[in-house]
Amino acid sequence: MALLGVTAAVGSAARAGPAQDYALHCMGCHGANAQGVPGKVPPLAHSLVRFMNNAAGRRYVLRVPGAANSMLSDAQLAAVLNWVVTQFDADELGATTPRFGEQEVAANRHTPMAGVLATRAAVLREIAAVGPAPATGY
């Protein structure tokens, strides 16, 4: 049944663009509904939008290995991230949430992040201080 859900989700987005880029470059680990794998792969649903509303969170998202080292171009990566929040975080996505742009991606993704876990923990603390935080435990 879950498999049918996956087939339908991608089948309906059967053309080149961020939905297909998500399927080919992100979905294998983050899942068809961006739900992640508990304790193993962080979810994007209900998390990515919370990073996007914070300056340090935006930099973190663009520098995590999966995003920074993906084979997507800067413009494609920006489009995929914007597509994910529209698709899976519509209820939390405010009109004031700044979307990612190609230049912002280019300016951040090439700066390596040495301590991913420590950086994530610090960013989560900062976000939690002012509102709901992204998923913990990763």
């Binding site: 087939t7 991608v10 059967a14 399927a23 080919l24 294998g28 193993k40 999966g66």
Partner: protein
């Protein structure tokens, strides 16, 4: 003219005083040895070969890729046999076919669990001329099946392109991480 002679003579003598033939031979040896090692560096030759033959996922790109880049099963023979490594939707598979292990091409054998993470790529179906998005999930929780070893890995990239490399046990995120076999699940058609 004499001044020029003196200049060359002094620089030649200076060079001879500062260096020896033995050290020159040593340096030359190091350069030659180093040059021989360059081809052994992990350079992405597969991608370069495919770039020359067509864009990733483009119809016909897989067919045009050189046989050397396609691994053991480089056959272009069309088959409907889902227990054959040449079956079209196995184009990027690396493992034992579940259709030979008690399951089917897209369902895990009884007693195994489908991996929660997977490798996703595209395959070209020569029957209808379209490209499809395919998820290669491993079936986990039992020892290796050992039947129908299939290694195609078309459009795979070297290990330093981790997200495009298939030398991974996709059972790693499952409770039982033993690898048994691999299924190919079609997720939808791929756009141009």
């Amino acid at each position: 003219m004499q001044r020029l002679d003196r200049l060359f003579e002094s620089s030649a003598r200076s060079l001879a005083q500062r260096s020896s033939r033995r050290s020159f031979i040593g340096v030359l040896g190091r350069i030659l040895t180093g040059s021989l090692l360059v081809p052994l560096l992990p350079i992405d030759r597969i991608h370069r070969a495919e770039a020359a033959s067509g864009p990733e996922g483009s119809p016909g790109a897989a067919e045009k890729a050189p046989a050397a880049a396609k691994g053991k099963s480089a056959s272009k023979a069309y088959t409907e046999d889902q227990e054959s490594c040449d079956y079209w939707k196995y184009c990027a598979i690396d493992g034992f076919l579940c259709s030979c292990c008690g399951g089917s091409s897209h369902t895990c054998p009884p007693g195994t669990q489908q991996s929660v993470v997977s490798w996703i790529g595209t395959c070209h179906n020569p029957a209808d001329g379209r490209d499809y998005i395919v998820s290669y999930n491993d079936c986990c929780g039992k020892a290796s099946c050992g039947n129908c070893d299939c290694y195609r890995n078309e459009r795979e990239r070297p290990l330093y392109r981790l997200s495009r490399n298939n030398d991974v046990n996709w059972c790693m995120a499952n409770t039982g991480s033993d690898y048994h076999c691999t299924v190919s699940v079609i997720l939808g058609s791929a756009g141009p």
